[in-house]
């Protein structure tokens, strides 16, 4: 198997892997962020601090 590197240039292989995987990873992440249900930045989890504080205060009967 190691003889692969006598056929393929290791430098070109490593560059090709980087050129392929980095844009692919970025593409998939941005595609997910562009969706409504798989966007982890705006899914409300964990609950935003202000919302939790307001909920806790409401539970205690405090205003706003």
């Amino acid at each position: 198997m190691y003889k692969l590197w006598q056929i393929l240039d290791p430098r070109q292989v490593l560059i090709a892997i980087c050129v392929f995987l980095i844009p692919l990873g970025l593409l998939i992440h941005f595609l997910l962020l562009a969706t409504e249900d798989l966007n982890w930045h705006e899914d409300g989890r964990p609950i935003p601090f202000k919302a939790k504080a307001a909920y806790d205060r409401a539970q205690q009967g405090l205003p706003y």
Binding site: Y2, K3, L4, Q6, I7, W40, D43, R45
Partner: protein, 47 residues
């Protein structure tokens, strides 16, 4: 015979050395990726 297919000029020893670094690195990357997917699915199941 095998020398005929040596296009990169690497010796057997050099090829073995690179291979001994490349393969564990590849398996490590696969492990990392699979682990990331498992953890992500545990936290944010997508189906």
């Amino acid at each position: 015979m095998a020398e005929k297919y040596n296009l990169t000029g690497m010796s057997d020893e050099e090829a073995k050395e690179f291979h001994s670094i490349f393969m564990p690195s590849m398996y490590g990357w696969f492990t990392l990726v699979v682990g990331a997917h498992i953890l992500t699915h545990l936290r944010f199941p997508w189906h």
